[in-house]
Subunit: 460 residues, 2 copies
């Protein structure tokens, strides 16, 4: 008993403390058993009385011992079933890996071939070499000022938007920012959005117990007349209505400005996702830049313009909401790594971002044309489909004349290693609407993809 192995790299009291604790846990010391007095224990173990005292006190403090006045230290009764840690092996590979598709029309894919990894690496390396003091400074809750300034500059030069960096909030993804935004809106908030492509935002609202009306987009359009009276927030994507890819007509923009200005407490959310990709020179102005009353909440992300592996999005708030945000939830630390904020700022300041965007736009325009031409030249396919496209985004629609259900098409595609994505919008009878997200389909796979698609539509 008590023949503990005192090591040189540990305080004596620690060894004694740990030894007694283990003996209690494994049952060598029994409940209500009396421990030797401090002097006796010290003499037996050839350690100081102070060490014994310290160990006994720590054990008492942590509840392993109790003290009887003028008697000494006793073992406490503990009903403690310890969970034995068995030898445990951790699989080196993820057992539930996502299926990879040969042909993947999934959304949120990006052509990563064009991404300038070497320039990005240079910016990251530079950021890592900043002085330690710089990197260890706490980033403001809105995000690094330098990055907010770079974004403001980009928006001014490319989108004619006059944005104060103080109104920009940087966050780990658009979903993150939507969650935060919903946390500062008043009790009576009711959101409305077109019934297409806003499933994530709708789910977030549902989880935060905020009403979210999905407005049917019959003429592929939404008008304020369709909103319920108590709606306070309308979410729009004027540059590029998902998944149709059509820009919002001017009269509709005006109607929404009239709606938002008609009653205090109303706001528009402009989700400008994918707006960088317009190929027809169409109306690119953001509603943010046309807003004279500070009523537009602007959202955008770097997921599609950079790579999805980077989780950096931003939101621009009107002054009043910014104030509420800071007051109510400014305690949340910024959610994006400081390194990557410095790196992205440099990437933008050096002009790499603009150059990458230009190349991406050229590539997508040509690639889109290639796929559209390939479909138009495919007589077999053209008999069964109709293209709908408005020169924007990284997708277009393909109406399929078929009596098959969406599920049937998805399943037979899956058997051929192809992932299909459908729009659940207002399709006609004997029709399904496929969303052709072509960003991740390389040129050399176009023919194969169309052949597979034709098979899936045709085969019984």
């Amino acid at each position: 008993m008590f023949d503990y192995n005192f090591k040189t790299d540990q305080f004596k009291y620690e060894t004694l403390y740990e030894g007694i604790r283990e003996d209690i846990i494994n049952g060598h010391l029994k409940p209500d058993q009396k421990l030797p007095g401090r002097r006796e224990m010290a003499a037996n173990l050839h350690i100081s009385i102070t060490s014994v005292k310290k160990a006994y006190e720590l054990l008492t403090d942590e509840g392993w011992l109790y003290v009887k006045e003028k008697s000494g230290y006793y073992i406490k009764k503990i009903n403690y079933r310890m969970k034995p840690v068995k030898p445990f092996s951790i699989p080196a590979e993820d057992p539930k890996q996502e299926k990879a598709y040969e042909i993947d029309f999934k959304a949120n894919q990006v052509s990563t071939r064009l991404f300038p990894f070497s320039q990005w690496s240079r910016c990251m390396r530079n950021a890592l070499n900043y002085p330690t003091e710089t990197l260890s400074q706490t980033v403001p809750w809105q995000g690094l000022y330098q990055l907010r300034a770079s974004i403001a500059k980009y928006l001014y030069e490319n989108r004619s938007m006059a944005v104060n960096p103080a109104n920009i909030i940087i966050g780990a993804g658009t979903e993150y920012l939507y969650t935060r935004l919903l946390m500062i809106l008043p009790e009576n908030t009711v959101i409305a959005a077109g019934d297409t492509g806003t499933h994530t935002f709708a789910s977030i609202a549902r989880h935060l117990k905020i009403r979210f009306d999905k407005v049917p987009l019959e003429q592929q359009n939404m008008s304020p007349d369709q909103l319920a009276k108590d709606v306070t927030i309308a979410q729009l994507s004027p540059a590029n209505l998902f998944p149709i890819g059509r820009a919002m007509p001017v009269d509709q923009r005006i109607a929404f400005f009239e709606w938002v200005n008609a009653k205090p407490g109303r706001y528009l959310i402009e989700d400008d996702y994918d707006s960088e990709f317009r190929y027809d020179g169409g109306y690119k102005k953001t509603m943010f830049s046309e807003d004279t009353q500070n009523k537009v909440i602007y959202m955008n992300t770097f997921s599609k313009t950079m790579i999805p592996s980077l989780r950096i999005s931003y939101m621009i708030l009107p002054d009043d909401l910014l104030e509420t945000y800071e007051k109510n939830i400014g305690f949340y630390a910024n959610s994006v790594s400081t390194f990557e904020q410095y790196a992205l700022s440099e990437f933008m300041e050096e002009g790499y971002f603009q150059r990458h965007l230009d190349r991406l736009l050229t590539y997508y325009r040509k690639h889109r044309q290639n796929i559209l031409t390939a479909i138009r030249n495919d007589k077999a396919l053209m008999q069964k489909t109709r293209i709908e496209e408005y020169g924007a985004g990284t997708h277009f629609l393909l109406h399929i004349h078929t009596d098959k259900t969406e599920q049937q098409l998805i399943q037979s595609a899956e058997q051929s290693g192809m992932y299909l994505s459908f729009w659940h919008g207002s399709h006609k009878d004997h029709e399904q609407i496929l969303v052709i997200n072509y960003a991740a389909i390389p040129n050399e796979k176009i023919q194969q993809a169309l052949k597979l698609l034709d098979d899936v539509i045709t085969v019984m």
Copy 2:
């Protein structure tokens, strides 16, 4: 009129479209004015009829023109006050920079001097050199498998925790994970936690309209008897009760296990923040590792063990909650950059993390001792203060005998360039309790800090 400048790098229809649009916006073209016919316009401008047709159609589609059957295209009336974009300058420096303190006892500070930036850079560089396909793969919603496996291995080897990587969720900060967790708990959730140091969690719960009971920690302890009957979740930090720094006694742990197992739907949250820093060899076992019924939700972060600039935390969920999470909010993309997840995994696998932790622990232990000794040797200060410390964390408590209010002390400290942080716990009369967060106070500033502190307490 219509003397547009056709450039070689733009499609003709685009130039025409943009020109007419601008002329409508700036008022050169009036509402209801008729545009020249397509043939006439084409001839005047020496461009093809197809180009004019395309431009007119785009303008009509976007709402700038309307069509009269058998007559032609007319300018639509638009009540559109455009916001002119003025020349706009963006300040290079953040106008509202946070005040820097000469002596900063703020929490959440970390000694960044010891952080091995060069090893971290190496891991980041390696991650950036991974094949493009690897980096552009979508990370599962829980986070990169490799990193989850590295964390599981670390927890097994260092904390005797048998964790399946499938139960780990990686997120951009502990606040982020708390928000997500609160989104999957059932309607009747009521949370209880000690009334110290959980302000952020309480605020998140308030925003999500979940009741949060703050339990007074009178004996610097919390017992299940103090919880209201309808409480379903108790949040604990058994390794290190903030700000007292005391480990939770064993009988209290048992009491909480009995409480959680007594009724279905109850859980414990073990916030293991700062648990890596124990200097007295005290009881380090996590309640997670002692839990036999899968009732412990475990939280930890790399903010204090790495650097706060990295926003990486993790949460371990019991199987039933994991299933709910995946089903209900698995649609949220993972919030941490893929690069940094690869880099951190390598940093751990290479043993850099463990070595850094060891150095940090040695440094903090010694530094803590230096500050404690300096206070004890400062006779003037010792007459006005009392140290309370339990050998854990990166702070201890200093009870100040004073009749001044907290606000008075903070203000006079601020005038001397010192940031003070107080505990609003159960202090006695004529006393204020200072939280001495010493991580960011370098050795050479200790004497200066104590001198300033003495002045602040003494001066009228």
